[in-house]
Amino acid sequence: MITVFIIILGIIMILAAIIAVMSKNLLTAIISSGVISLLASIIYLILSAPDVAMTEAAIGSGLTTIVFLYALSRIKKINKEIDDD
């Protein structure tokens, strides 16, 4: 039962990784890489490492995604300043 669960999670993670790498839209890519981390935290829980699962859930899917998004928004802001000049 738990094996089937892990296989399904793994397939979703690999699909998300492929989307993150291939997607033309950067926002989609960033969100997909957050999804990978979120699902990885479930797998850590199954592997009985709750400490790691907590860290991964808070950092991998929360803060890393936000840091990426902040960087993206800064890039867009620089673009806008060029357009204004």
Binding site: D51, A53, M54, L63, I66, Y70, K77
Partner: protein, 231 residues
């Protein structure tokens, strides 16, 4: 073309190297000597219910000190790369402020999230969690404020003092162990208490609390630097 071919060759070679390892890896079914030693020691010697915490704070404490240093250097690097020039004030943001509901909700949730983070790192030796997780939760509380209030400014003096004082106290506690008991980061100079209560495990909760404060302030600093000039 040659470059693409090279990349494919590199990846195939890596697969060839790692495939036997994947196939023949022996998944153990009992702890090895070192791990079982750690488990026994953390129960009998340290009275720490969460064995991962015992490994992070005491048995591998010097590594953790190194990792906190790496974190500090990376934070300093981010701040240095994205610093604002002196006197450079960016244009007034034309974004409209967040809605009333979002602001009220964020100011309601902020103290609760901070409290949860403090709980996580104070109970690091009893339940899953600890300084790193608690610090991250504190940083995400500040993230909530940053997202809901576009005019929010960190008080940098407080942030820097918290960060440097907690780092200094972490090293001081380690030195105290060295002076009193003869080994660096030895937490047994405080009474050990009974297994499973809040005041147990010697100085482990104290050390992990300082790590938590340091990680929380450093990650908040990273978030603030990445957000950049938004005022």
């Amino acid at each position: 073309m040659i470059k693409r071919l090279l990349i494919i060759v590199v990846i195939i070679l890596l697969i060839v190297i790692f495939l036997p390892f994947m196939k023949n890896v022996i998944l153990k079914d009992s702890l090895n000597e070192l791990s079982s030693g750690y488990v026994e020691k953390s129960v009998s010697d340290l009275k720490t219910a969460n064995i991962v915490t015992a490994v992070v704070v005491t048995f591998r404490g010097l590594d953790t000190l190194g990792e906190v240093t790496v974190l500090f250097i990376a934070t300093a690097g981010v701040g240095l790369l994205l610093k604002r020039k002196k006197g450079e004030k960016s244009k007034k943001s034309d974004k409209r402020p967040a809605s009333e509901i979002l602001q009220t909700g964020a100011s309601f949730l902020f103290p609760l999230t901070i409290l949860f983070g403090v709980y996580i790192f104070l109970h690091g030796h009893l339940t899953p969690g600890g300084g790193f997780q608690g610090g991250v939760i504190i940083a995400s509380a500040f993230l909530l404020l940053l997202l809901s209030n576009i005019n929010f400014q960190f008080n940098h003096t407080v942030l820097h003092w918290v960060e440097s004082l907690s780092g200094a106290f972490y090293v001081l506690l380690g030195l105290l162990g060295l002076i009193l008991l003869g080994s660096f980061l030895n937490p047994k100079f405080l009474p050990l208490g009974t297994l499973g209560t809040l005041f147990s495990a010697g100085a482990v909760p104290l050390i992990y609390s300082f790590i938590g404060l340091k990680v929380g302030s450093e990650l908040s600093n990273i978030l603030d630097s990445m957000r950049g000039a938004e005022e």
